[in-house]
């Protein structure tokens, strides 16, 4: 071991597990070949949107060759009451949305389970349902708080007076459709019981929280539950907490006395894993003739299910973005007979900033002020609502850097006047933001007998490169080369840790890994040599002490849009994001997170929409032929860069989360570019050709 001074943080090693992944050696959740005798579970979704299960006729399928068990609300093992009501699977006969799991078949092969599930006869008592969110829905009410714990409404100054007195106003309603979490790897669980000990291999964004939840559900001491999530094929928030596939797997494995695998089908992903709520957002802006804001109002309408209340924090970004004399934000929620919406990459900021940043563009048009300039003019000195100083805020620098790189200066503001053959061409800009959260975590570090170091933390690498960046961070803390450090993650037995959500992974785990590394280094320096030292750290106290500033990341996104004059087809040949996101630990994996977010934002802008059929109450286009995500050909010249940002207040590493900010603002940048290209303002996503066709210049 040689202490070194060069730093690994800031360099771009490739993913540590990259070779294992591309060769197939890496084992994802349910690929545990060492387990023999695995059985397969296939769930049965409800075919009504509201009512009760009257009877499940299990007899006909229970006798089929290969069928091991049929789980129904009548015979399923009773669970303790979960904190997350979605997990109470098969605990009662209520049907609260179409597609809710009302039974499950366990069999010796997947095909048998699936066929038996399809032929299971279920009788329902159906009652009328209501699945359609509307602006004046009678069920709209004020939730107590919005996710995770923000005030529902805020008010600052006299908005109505300011609007009445404003030289220029914008008053527009924006709509975003339901969009669905579809990581490449669907939710996948494999449960094994050994006596009263449960091991769950699962595709989750946090093993520790899953262990706690399962222990509670099955009335076990936490130490009797072991959750392993070594490799995870994407999550986007939908795997943030343990999901009902895991509960079914654990329940069934105990029933049949064998390991049980549950891998959701793509169609299930559109109902049971949580999607982004549709939103109806009214934004009113008041400004003086120079575009200086005097009033901002942002009112969001959204839905939840009757199973549990999830209130997306759609307008919270509006509370921190721009200086204005007055401001009002609100959320109203209708509990409908729909699948439960949950977290999806940048819940709140993502749909909310589509509305706010579209409205800012409309204000720029109305005042004749350049869209970049109007944002700079409304830059606040402190966080508008709280009055707190920002730990760092580089929106203006991002806007300027982006304008320079994108070639914004020569832009002619007139909409609908640039043609290239049969294409109309335009450009647009929008701002991005995301909070810089951090959560407490524990970690351990040990010097290994044969040399080298091992750091253990219950982090999750959901494809982000977390394992790699934690190794870099650990190497720096230990002052050794990255090759000397092995970071083990994805295991609940490593103790409490933040989950891979809220873009807080690197900040939270990195903090704990830094402390563990530093402590081990100090102990080694003190005791000398390479004894068998192991240290444990917990950042709870330190994290709690972080206060006094407003912690957010910012960015600016620039888009070019081309719209076919004959057809209204939209293409986005250029997309540039410039971000102020603190210290970049690994430029390679950081860029990939940022352009990944932007790609998903582009996809939201142009393609994604869960199509509700109110007659059935579900999303009818529930596969990848019907639900479009951006394909490779839709993503042309896309790039993400960052401005230099030193932030000593945000956390010891000076990092801000980068997993979600990339999706924030993209859709507005694209919509603004489409307006500039065509003169047509599309206020309801996705921007599809049928919404443009009628309005294109002749």
């Amino acid at each position: 071991m040689t202490a070194i001074t060069t730093r690994a943080v800031g360099s771009s090693p490739t993913r540590i597990e990259g070779t294992a992944k591309v060769t197939g050696a890496a084992r994802y959740s349910t690929e545990q070949d060492h387990l023999g005798d695995v059985a397969y579970l296939w769930p049965v979704p409800a075919t009504i949107a509201k009512g009760r299960v009257e009877a499940v006729d299990s007899d006909a399928v229970a006798g089929l060759p290969g069928v091991l068990a049929v789980l129904t609300p009548d015979n399923a093992p009773r669970l303790e009451t979960p904190d997350d009501a979605e997990l109470a699977v098969l605990q009662d006969h209520e049907v609260s949305y179409r597609g809710q799991f009302v039974a499950a078949v366990v069999a010796t092969s997947l095909e048998t389970a699936r066929e038996a599930a399809a032929s299971l006869h279920i009788t329902y008592a159906e009652v009328p349902h209501d699945s359609e969110l509307t602006e004046n829905h009678p069920k709209l009410s004020k939730p107590e708080k919005v996710n995770p714990a923000f005030p529902t409404d805020t008010e600052d100054g006299d908005v109505d007076a300011a609007l009445a007195a404003a030289a220029v106003t914008v008053d527009a309603t924006y709509r975003t459709p339901p969009v669905h979490n579809n990581p490449m790897e669907p939710h996948a669980s494999l449960a094994v019981w050994l006596g009263h000990e449960l091991t769950l291999y699962d595709s989750l964004q946090g093993a520790f929280a899953a262990q706690q939840a399962l222990a509670k559900l099955f009335a076990l001491p936490p130490a009797s539950v072991h959750v392993i999530n070594e490799h995870v094929g994407g999550g986007f928030g939908s795997k943030g907490t343990v999901r009902l596939g895991a509960v079914l797997a654990a329940m069934a494995a105990r029933e049949v006395g064998r390991p049980v695998k549950v891998v959701l089908g793509r169609q299930h992903m559109f109902t049971v894993v949580g999607y982004r709520t549709p939103t109806i957002q009214r934004v009113r802006l008041g400004a003086d003739a120079d575009g200086q804001l005097t009033a901002i109002e942002h009112a969001a309408i959204e839905q939840t299910s009757t199973v549990l209340e999830f209130a997306e924090q759609t307008t919270v970004a509006t509370r921190i973005m721009y200086a204005a004399g007055s401001r009002r934000t609100s959320h109203r929620l209708a509990a409908l007979d729909v699948p439960t919406p949950r977290w999806m990459r940048a819940p709140g900021e993502c749909p909310g900033m589509f509305a706010l940043e579209s409205a800012m563009d409309e204000l720029a048009v109305a005042t004749g002020v350049d869209p970049v300039e109007i944002r700079i003019r409304n830059e606040p000195d402190v966080e508008p609502e709280s009055g707190k100083p920002f730990s760092s805020r580089n929106l203006v620098a991002c806007l300027r850097e982006g304008a320079e790189r994108f070639g914004w200066a020569a832009r002619d503001p007139r909409p609908g006047v640039r043609r290239d053959g049969r294409w109309l061409v335009g450009t647009g800009v929008a701002a991005s933001t995301y909070p810089s959260y951090v959560g407490p975590s524990t970690a351990s570090a040990a010097a290994e007998p044969g040399g080298g170091f091992v750091v253990r933390i219950s982090a999750a690498d959901i494809g982000t490169g977390a394992r790699t960046v934690l190794t870099q961070i650990a190497a720096d803390a230990l002052r050794v080369r990255v090759e000397e450090v092995r970071v083990e993650i994805g295991d609940s037995s490593f103790g409490q840790a933040a989950l891979a959500g809220g873009s807080m992974g690197t900040a939270s785990w990195g903090w704990a890994v830094t402390r563990a590394g530093e402590r081990l280094r100090a102990a080694l320096d003190e005791h000398g040599g390479d004894g068998r030292l192991e240290v444990h750290v917990d950042t709870a106290e330190e994290v709690k002490a972080r206060t006094g500033f407003a912690y957010h990341a910012f960015g600016a996104q620039y888009a070019e849009a081309r719209v076919d004059l004959d057809t209204g087809e939209v293409r986005v040949p250029r997309l540039l994001g410039v971000f102020g996101v603190g210290r970049i630990v690994n430029p390679r994996t950081a860029r990939s997170q940022l352009i990944g977010g932007m790609t998903m934002g582009l996809s939201m802008a142009l393609h994604e929409e869960g199509v509700l059929d109110p007659a059935f109450g579900d999303y009818v286009n529930h596969d990848f032929a019907g639900y479009h995500v951006a394909a490779a050909a839709d993503v042309a010249d896309i790039d993400a860069v960052w401005v230099d940002e030193q932030d000593e207040h945000v956390n010891p590493l000076g990092v801000k989360g980068i997993g979600e900010i990339g999706i924030v603002g993209t859709a507005a940048a694209v919509a603004n570019a489409v307006f500039h290209a065509t003169g047509v303002r599309v206020r309801d996503l996705p921007i599809r050709l049928d919404k443009l066709l009628g309005g294109l210049p002749g």
Partner: protein, 329 residues
């Protein structure tokens, strides 16, 4: 998936016999549509007759430039065949605009023609659908019909045929060669595909055991002046929301002959005979093209969410014919 028997016949006669003997049997070619539908429970054959071992994978070009395309020729091989690209660019373009590279490598010519509709209700056995379950109803009319038919539908069904390839074949006057229990016959595409009427469950005039062995494309001298244009909701890997295959012959400043077929607007590839008739003898101008296609679309019966297909299709026809003839717009 329902358990099924699997047969791999050694010759066409045996395949036809197996298919005819067992009601509800299905021929399996590339499987990219059939197997998906079997997993969803939409197709539930008792017997699957794999035609992959029958050969039928040659492309024969006759001296006049006509083509005989074996039923099992892969979409990707057909798309890049030099004679196809030379004689009928619209055919090659239609194939290449379909699905993805991987799917085209697997999909066959006959399988492509007989792929089923993408109507979301048809694909979801938990919902009613007259095509899948005669008499159960058609929820698409009140529900999701953005990509369903504006022409040729019926009260019972407004499904669209999803194939791109079939649209170009319709414009080319192609026929299919069929071997059935009663022997061999050829069917024009018009005769192969049925409109839904009161029986949307009957999509083609093929009977059990009828095996398509080849697709026959007669020579089309002006096929070299042809194009396929597909409009879709993303840049690639999406079914058409509207498409046009067209070939045109302009001699001495007038349209001597023209072929136009429309995709994604009807239960079958829609040959625009009215538009063709209207154009013959006229000067090739954008306004003539527009008037012709509008005549064709005048019989359309759009629904609220698919009415946009009318102006869209009209624009694309005008655009394709203008590009082919150099008419200014």
């Amino acid at each position: 998936m329902k358990p099924f028997r699997y047969a791999r016949p050694g010759g066409v006669a045996e395949a036809v016999r197996s298919g005819a003997e067992q009601p509800g049997s299905r021929f399996l070619a590339g499987g990219t549509n059939l197997v998906d539908l079997m997993k969803l429970g939409v197709e539930r054959p008792d017997l699957v007759v794999d035609v992959g071992g029958l050969g039928l994978d040659e492309i024969v070009v006759d001296s006049g430039g006509g083509l005989r395309i074996g039923a099992n020729v892969r979409n990707s091989d057909l798309a890049v065949h030099p004679a196809v690209r030379r004689e009928l660019p619209m055919l090659s373009q239609a194939l290449l605009s379909g699905a993805s590279g991987q799917l085209r490598n697997q999909a066959t010519a006959a399988g492509n023609l007989l792929q089923r509709t993408r109507c979301v209700y048809f694909q979801d056995v938990s919902k009613p659908c007259n095509k899948r379950e005669p008499g159960s109803g058609c929820p698409a009319r009140q529900g999701d019909h953005r990509n369903l038919a504006v022409l040729g539908g019926s009260a019972a069904c407004i499904a669209t045929h999803p194939s791109d390839f079939a649209v170009a074949l319709a414009a080319a006057d192609a026929e299919v060669a069929v071997t059935g229990p009663a022997g061999e016959r050829t069917l024009r595409l018009d005769e192969l595909y049925l409109l839904p009427g009161e029986h949307p469950e009957r999509e083609t005039s093929l009977a059990p055991g009828d095996l398509i062995t080849a697709i026959v494309v007669p020579p089309l001298p002006f096929g070299t002046t042809s194009a396929y244009r597909k409009v879709r909701d993303r840049a690639s890997y999406a079914f058409a929301v509207a498409s046009v295959a067209a070939a045109i012959d302009v001699t001495d400043g007038v349209v001597r002959d023209v072929r136009i077929a429309l995709g994604a607007v009807a239960p079958k590839p829609w040959r625009a005979h009215r538009a063709e008739d209207a154009l013959r003898g006229l000067e090739p101008t954008a306004s003539a093209f527009r008037a012709a296609v509008e005549a064709e679309l005048s019989v359309a019966e759009p629904l609220p969410d698919n009415a946009f297909k009318l102006p869209l299709t009209a624009n694309v026809v005008v655009s394709v014919l203008s590009d082919l003839t150099g008419a200014s717009r």
